[in-house]
Amino acid sequence: MVQLLFFYFALVVIGLGLRIVTCKNPVHSVLLMLLLFFHMAGLYLLLNAEFLAAVQVIVYAGAILVLYLFVLFLVNLREEIKMSPFVQKGKWAGLVAALALLITFLRGVFNFTLGPHGQYTIEKVQQITHTKAMGEAIYTTYILPFEIAGLILLVAVIGGLALAKKEDKGA
């Protein structure tokens, strides 16, 4: 059952990924991306990471992707559909590079050995709920990275504002 689900999610994720990068219409790409994020969330659920699944949907699907849609609507899109979506020369080179990278990765994957086990066993996570487990880790061990992440977000907000702000005519 779990295997079946995994294969379903995995295949759909790969298929959607391929379709996203080859899709002509960026809006369709974004839509497929949305679907992909759902399947990613499904994979997270298989990994017992329900909090991550929820965050994936809320943050990625609910916020980041909408931002993409927004920007896509801002730029002139109807014309884009009529053109080739790829750069004129580098299409095949890109494919070769990606394939080479894939082969390297796969070699690594099959030679991979797992490190020492930690303290959060599946039973424990299920018992205290994943949210709580994450929370405990974030707010104790990883409090500094958490603060830094917050700072990065703040910087991003300010930076985004500064970038997108229109110049005043007077200034």
Partner: protein, 322 residues
Amino acid sequence: MELLWILIKIIIVFTVVMIHVMYATYFERKVIGHMQVRMGPMRVGWHGVLQPIADGIKAFFKEDIIPTAADKKVFYAAPLICLISALSAVAVIPFFETFAIANINIGLLYIFAMSSLASYGVVLAGWSSNSKYSFLGGLRSSAQVISYEIAMGLSLVGVMMLAGSLNLSDIVHAQMQSSYKIYLIPQIIGFFVFVVAMFAETNRTPFDLPEAESELVAGYCTEYSGMRFALFFMAEYIGMIVMSCLAVICFLGGWSGPFEVPGIPFFWFILKAYFFIFLYYWVRATLPRYRYDQLMALGWKVLIPLALFNILLTGTIKSLIG
């Protein structure tokens, strides 16, 4: 066996929700009608009680017009996204003690996730219709939903802090054990922010800018007709019901009440939810509509600071008392 039970629950909830959606439209027209010293629907059946059925049949058999310049795939998908995301949020709502389709640990987050998805349907509907009015409506809606989602999420953080859980049933239980029995009293600021954000999330008056009929004709659903339009309509009403239920669960103590009503465990829940749905109609009959920039200003400059203040207050009090 368990799967079968879940299936039965799904069917029951789906039917009940759909009937509620049908009659929510009817009661909206009746309530607003009487508030405006008129009668509302009167023709089909006694005082128009069969009106929703007639409307449904009409919408079903109406010609489905698709603009030639529309992006057809997206045009088809948009109302479905709206409806499905709204419907799936119903799944985690505990209507009474032991009854929820899925009693999951991250119920609250799940509802947020689903309600944030609804904006996709609206944005894509606006874009794919290839109509300028639809497009503006779609853009407005997405900006609005995203902004108010933050306010709504923050307003519920206080509840999460008090209850210590994201599970909706647990939140109700925690409320029953708290000193005031409901979180309305300790979380009055949060409740206020939540109610305002609730109106904005469901695109209802005074925040109905995406479909502001006097400005954008019908906003994102200008080009939709027949069944597809009805799907948007249904999604909107399901969204209203879900938000009302969420308000009941998080602030008004869910299914608990001053006394037990034997045989009807969901009596109090339904009663409180109906109050919120009535509030939707009541406000619609009373208030004018905000302007787009004012709406955003309200969300970012008033509601979010208020919600943050609420979190601070709750945290302080909680750490002081216990």
